[in-house]
Each structure stands twice: as C-alpha cells, then as structure tokens.
Amino acid sequence: MRIFTYCEHHPDRTLAVTDDGSSILYREMLETGEMIRERAGHRLIFILCRNTPGTLLGYLGSLHAGAVPLLLDAEISPVLLEDLIRLYHPAFIVVPGTEREKAEAVSEKAGFPPVSAGEIRDSVLLRTDPDGGPELAPELTLLLTTSGSTGSQKLVRLTGENLDANAESIAQYLRIDENERPVTMLPMNYSYGMSVINSHLLKGAPIMLTDHAIMERGFWERVIRDGVTSLVGVPYTYEIFRRLDLINMDLPALRTLTQAGGKLPTALHEAFASWALRTGRRFYVMYGQTEAAPRMGYLPAERALEKRGSMGIAIPGGKLMLMDEAGKEITKPDIVGELVYEGPNVAMGYAVKPEDLALGDEWHGRLVTGDMAKKDEEGFFYITGRKKRFLKIMGKRLNLDEAERILGKEFPDTAFACVGNDRILCVYAEKEENVKEEEEPLADRWISYLEETTGISGRSVRVHFVKRIPRSDSGKIQYAKLVIE
C-alpha cells in the first residue's frame, strides 16, 4: 500500500509520540506487522480500538502484514462483540489490556476459549479461531462498521486502493506534509479518525497519540507541549471548543481545523471560520461516509465564511453529482437531487455475513449517498436532507426504522415510532391508559436498551407517551405528524 511507502523508506523516523513523551518508530510498526503475519492462522483480525500505542501498532501492523482488520470500539457491548465473533471467526482479537477480561469472557462464550499469543505494547493478541476463518476476497483490506446495532451489523468492505486514494486526496487538499503534528481526538474505529492516521502516515507526519479526552487538562498540555498543528472534530467537538474558549487559547503552532460528521450549526461555523481567516489559520468543513473511506467533499478554507452552510466540492480525484428521481443528472443550480459520488475511494460493498467477505467489487467506484442536496452556480453543494430515515447523532449513524425494529422485538407489548434530527432521537410509545408512575421506569429501560444495542448515547434520546401513534388509513405511521422535541 502506498500509505506505507514513506515509513518503509524511513524506519527510524517517528510514527507517534505517546503521553509519556516517548516516540514510537516506524520500525516497531513494521515489526508488529511481521509478528502478526507469523502468528495469525488466517487473515481476519478484530481490533478493539483505544487511542493507545497497542491499537495504532495493531491497526497499521495488520494492514502492513496483509491481514484484514475489523476495527471496533474498545467499549463495544459484550453482546455485539459476541455476535461478531460467532459470525466471523477472527483469527485474533487485538485488545487493550483494560478490556482484556471482557474480550476473554466474550470469546469463551462465543465458543472460542482465547489463548494469549503475544503483546503489542498495552494490548494483547488473543488467539480465537486460527483455523476456521471465512474466505476473503484478495483485495479486501479493511472492515469498518456503519451503524452499531446488534444483529444487523453492516460492515463496509474497503480495499487498499480505497485507503491509499483517499489518504492521497486528503493530504493534497489539506496540504499535509511531514511537518504536521496531528493529535488523536477521534476513535480509530471511526472512519474520520482512521483517515487522520492514514493521511499523515502517507506523508511521514508524526501522530501525537493521546488517550486523554478533550475535556482533560492533559489533552491541552500535549497540544501545547508537542506543538500540535491541527485539530479535528464532529459538531459537538466544536461546541466543546467554544466552551473551552479555544479561540482565545495561546496555540501558535495550530494551523488547521477540520470538521466532519454532520452539519455544524451556522453560528459555530461562522465563529470558527472568521477566527481562522483573521488569524491566518485554515478551517475546513468536510463531507464523507465510511463507504468512501470516508472523504468525498470539502469546503476550501479560503471560501469557508462566504460559502457557509455548504459542504463544499468534490475532493481531488473524485466527482460529486446530483440525480433526479429518474436517475438523470441534474445540471442546473438550486435543484434538489440525490447526491452521488464517484471516485477510487468508494468501497467494494457491504458485508452482513461471512460469505460476503469473499465478494469482489459491487459498487464500481460509485456511491449513492442517500443525502439530498443542491448546488449553487459555482458548483458548491449544500445538503438539504436525507432520502432515508436515518440520523447522525454525535457522529454515530442510526437508522430510525432499525431503532423501531430493535425496540419492537425486545418490548413486543408496545408500539413504537421513532423520529429525530441530528441532535435527538424521539421515541413515541403507544400507551392506552394514563398511568404516569409506570412511565419513567419503562422509558429508562428502553433508553438503556437502545444504548446497549445501537451505541447511541441515552442523553440524546427522548421518550414520549401517546395514546395513538398517528397512522394513515393503510396503517402507515405518519412521521410528519410526530414532533421532534
């Protein structure tokens, strides 16, 4: 893979700097790759991700070794992890020491008593099923999850070319070179977090690896001490930036801010775009989906203020277009159509079962995004809504029909209807009688169940009890009549 060209030529340069101030050299990652190659029985590996040396080395080492990692959140629910192990039979699980007991117990329960097969810094390699792996397509390189709901896990099948092409496009428009110093702010199992790693690895820029959260003093001490040059975030990260008064912090090395994972409220966009213009910094709003590894569009920093509200233009090497309902391309400005992307970074397709991992390219470089958009005379795109009923809350995608199905299956006595926006999910529940004291414990149970199965934060869920969920004569739920509050 081309993202490894720099490090193969410079094994003694720095891959990452850790919280204790020590450096991890590219050499160690190459060696980790060797170890994985020798010890893995087959190519499929699960990596439970935290922003630690073990995860970074495990992820990149696997890719370099030609293994196929599925990246998962280290805080994944045991139920979901068990489902995935049963289904896909990974050769190894790379797990941070802090989550080791959970992973061992789950693997045992899934029928694979784990055996420790080595260590990668803070993480351990747990051998699960070295013999019985699924057949993998030769070009399959990486698996990422889309929504995290139990029982319907949809994996995105990415190739090495997808990752290389996207890292190159990102490095080009963000003007990344080896002098950059990014800091880990997003999980590596989230495609945006992964792309930050890949695009900087490509250019030989060392990564400031921190397990500190953005609301900890330790995080900002590293930003200052290590001269961090760029910060990244989803919309709520920018709310935190505002709360912490980032604009008035003394951060002379900071040059670039990027934002993705949903639309930033206009006031925040304006505040950061004008600050960046005023102080000679660059602020980029970006657009992507995991299915495109993930980047598809960006708003050039010099137009950030003037074109606020726009998600920008296609990344270098890609093409964005709008399609009408008949599938014809819309060329005139200000007409809403479905956003379609074409480029070398579009994944091969999804996998919902092990047999799918043997499949070749199904999408042929074309991704129908499900987002509705329009463009202006200059060709800048503006997202106007979504074709299907799904939300993106704090970077996590949630299908509303799926949420209803999950609740309905677990709590068959209640009828549910889900609506929402990118801040909250509203669950409407049908309840005949007016028994107020029953409501709170019921709502709490539903919320915790949604948290467990979909990974959505309970804070973003509101439950409303209604006598009747509005339905049409044919029995279809009339979602437009349900208020989002």
């Binding site: 959260a213 953005i214 609301m215 900890e216 709310e239 935190i240 912490l244 912090m249 804070r459």
Partner: protein, 78 residues
C-alpha cells in the same frame, strides 16, 4: 436545600447514579460522564449556583470531590 444537597442532585439527575456512588464518581469513570456529559454538568452547575466556571477549572473538574474545591473558588461552599 443546602449547597451539598443541590450539588449532589445535579450529579444524580445528570448521570442517573445513586447517592452512594457519588464519592468515587469521576470524569470518564462512567459512560454518561463523557465529554458531552461534562459540558452539560458544567452548564447545570453554573446555572444552579449562578456562577461562570473558567476554562481551566472546567478541565480540572475531574471528579466529584475535586468539584467541591473548585466551586469553593467561586464562593460556593459545599
């Protein structure tokens, strides 16, 4: 209601914890007290005690006990 009662109530309401859990409660120690939860907690305490917590104090507010000494700086004795 005493200041301590008010203080406890914000945590209990925000994170759905029991009173007994409060003394050991810390940022990132439970799922609900994440970055977003921390923002919400700061806003709730600011509103409750009519104060404005500085950036450094937001960052230093790492656990339930530490929070008491931070609020004391703003004249809120707990």
């Amino acid at each position: 209601m005493t200041n301590l009662e008010k203080y406890d109530r914000e945590f209990i309401k925000m994170f759905g914890v029991k009173k007994e859990e409060l003394p050991t409660l810390k940022y990132r120690g439970i799922k609900k007290w994440d970055s977003m939860g921390h923002m919400d907690l700061m806003s709730a305490l600011e509103e409750r005690f009519d104060i404005s917590i500085s950036t450094l104090d937001v960052l230093d507010f790492t656990d339930y006990e530490k929070g008491k000494t931070i609020l004391a700086k703003y004249g809120v004795e707990i």
